[in-house]
């Protein structure tokens, strides 16, 4: 145990988590809080009140230089050059063969592109981007920035109780942001980058803050009665209910966007241009020509199925695999994500899973399992 611990990096909030009684576990090379009072209670708190997550292990990157968006488009299928200032897009980092190297959020801050990538993949992402991007585009790894997520139906009301002001007079306050919008703010002379986004399916914000001030911000937020700290355990069960894939589990370098059920990340313009890494392989599957597809599963009975369990056919042969699975605290039943043959991917199709020698009946379900509760901009 001690060997493992010595190699783990500490997050700026590490001692703060321990002070709140968190159970710490290794995750993405860091020591991180998996739970405080318990996964179930934290999950339900986030769905009904507001939860504060420390996601400082994630990579925060900045791309500057003329044509940064065009350059990033060469290795992503998102329409990033059309991204207006203050807007965020979800996209995929693609290998030259179209395999998924990571999923990420890209914000046009008006001065540069701000990227948030997964913690476990950030160093590989940086190396790949530095290799692929032209010399005039500069990539900065914002290693001195922490990242908090405030998620839940009361997140906006809670955040409004801190005196957070827009960086420039006349700009919106955080509560005025819509889903997938972002802006620069100040709180007690501390600069904050706030995005209306998250990984729970709830309304909420992700807040980039200088690491030296993150204890002050996390403390101010958790002092609000509607905010409690939430660990990685509930983060996983929340994103599973929201149908959101987890990199390294539900997608990876051996998988292409269409089979990973991420068609929405292939923008129409970019499909027509067909000029991103691996476009030929990726687009050959579009929209539904892949052999398999990631789907949601409702599991019969009470026993959860887990990552690694096999999808089997009537003869017992393996025809797919479960990539995420757990118990849904909201629905009070087990749910999962799995890759199944395309002909079995329709909602309502019966699927059989084999886990530890036992057959478990499942049904293909629409995702999200629990409806998203985003603060979307009204359609005109």
């Amino acid at each position: 145990m001690s060997d493992i611990k010595e190699n783990l990096k500490q997050l700026p909030l590490g001692d703060w988590h321990r002070g709140l009684g968190a159970r710490m576990v290794p995750f993405a090379g860091y020591e991180m809080p998996v739970q405080y009072e318990g996964v179930m209670a934290e999950h339900i708190w986030t769905r009904t009140e507001a939860g504060l997550f420390d996601v400082s292990h994630m990579g925060q990157l900045q791309l500057t230089g003329e044509g940064a968006a065009d350059a990033l488009e060469q290795i992503t299928p998102g329409n990033l050059s059309a991204l207006a200032a203050g807007k965020i897009r979800y996209t995929l980092l693609l290998a030259q063969d179209g395999g998924i190297l990571d999923d990420l959020m890209v914000t046009n801050t008006g001065r540069n592109l701000y990227l948030v990538v997964n913690g476990a993949t950030k160093h590989d992402d940086i190396a790949y981007m530095r290799d692929q991007l032209p010399d005039h585009v500069t990539l900065n790894h914002l290693e001195d920035a922490a990242l908090l997520a405030l998620q839940g139906p009361k997140a906006s009301a809670a955040l409004a109780r801190l005196d957070i002001q827009p960086l420039e007079e006349g700009w919106p306050v955080p509560a005025d942001l819509y889903f997938m919008e972002a802006g620069p703010f100040m709180w007690n002379d501390i600069p904050l980058g706030i995005s209306r986004s998250g990984y729970t399916g709830e309304d909420g914000f992700e807040i980039s803050v200088p690491a030296e001030h993150v204890v002050a911000l996390a403390t101010a937020l958790t002092e609000l009665e509607e905010v409690r700290p939430i660990g990685l355990g509930a983060r996983d069960s929340l994103r599973l209910e929201a149908g959101l894939p987890l990199y390294g589990h539900d997608m990876g370098p051996e998988l292409l966007p269409v089979e990973a059920n991420l068609n929405f990340a292939l923008s129409k313009v970019r499909r027509e241009e067909g000029n991103f890494a691996g476009a030929e392989r990726v687009l050959a599957q579009y929209p539904d020509n892949a052999a398999k597809k990631r789907v949601g599963l409702f599991v019969d009975g009470r026993q959860p199925i887990r990552e690694g369990a096999a999808v089997i056919d009537e003869a017992g042969a393996t025809i797919g695999n479960v990539t995420s699975g757990g118990f849904s605290p909201t629905l009070q039943r087990p749910i999962a994500m799995a890759y199944v043959p395309m002909p079995l991917s329709e909602t309502g199709t019966a699927i059989t899973i084999e886990q530890r020698g036992k057959k478990i009946a499942c049904t293909v379900a629409d995702m999200p399992f629990v409806p998203h509760n985003y603060h979307r901009k009204p359609k005109l």
Binding site: M40, H43, G233, Q303, P304, P329
Partner: protein, 123 residues
């Protein structure tokens, strides 16, 4: 009746030639919210160290090993509808199964309460 403990955090209540087995309060605390318990079928012959049961929390599945060898003669049916009994009453109402003792010498390998307490204090 004497109670024994294993390093895998099971407790074993021995009464004559049979024993009742469950997981310790320390174990349930570590596992968190338990949502399902898979107990062995009555009649299953277990050797010490075999996989005997599975405890599922929201996040993960954990194996429970047979602390002693023998035949499963009764399982706790209440866990099917109320797996949370393992959280609320790990060392009483949340018992897993009863087993015959085919080799009482195996009990010599187990810890008593004092030794188990010292064991978890060092974890």
């Amino acid at each position: 009746m004497s109670r024994y403990y294993t390093e895998e955090h099971e407790w074993v209540d021995v009464e004559g030639d049979t024993a009742t087995v469950g997981i310790t309060d320390y174990a349930q605390e570590q596992l968190g919210d338990i949502v399902f318990v898979e107990v062995p079928d009555v009649g299953t012959e277990l050797d010490q160290g075999d996989d005997a049961a599975v405890v599922e929390s929201v996040k993960a599945a954990s194996d429970v090993y047979a602390a002693v060898s023998g035949e499963v003669i009764e399982v706790n049916e209440a866990l099917e509808d109320e797996p949370g009994l393992v959280n609320s009453s790990a060392e009483e109402d949340g018992w897993f199964f009863r087993i015959t003792l085919s080799d009482k010498d195996e009990l010599d390998d187990l810890m008593d309460e004092k030794a188990y307490k010292a064991f978890i204090d060092n974890l």
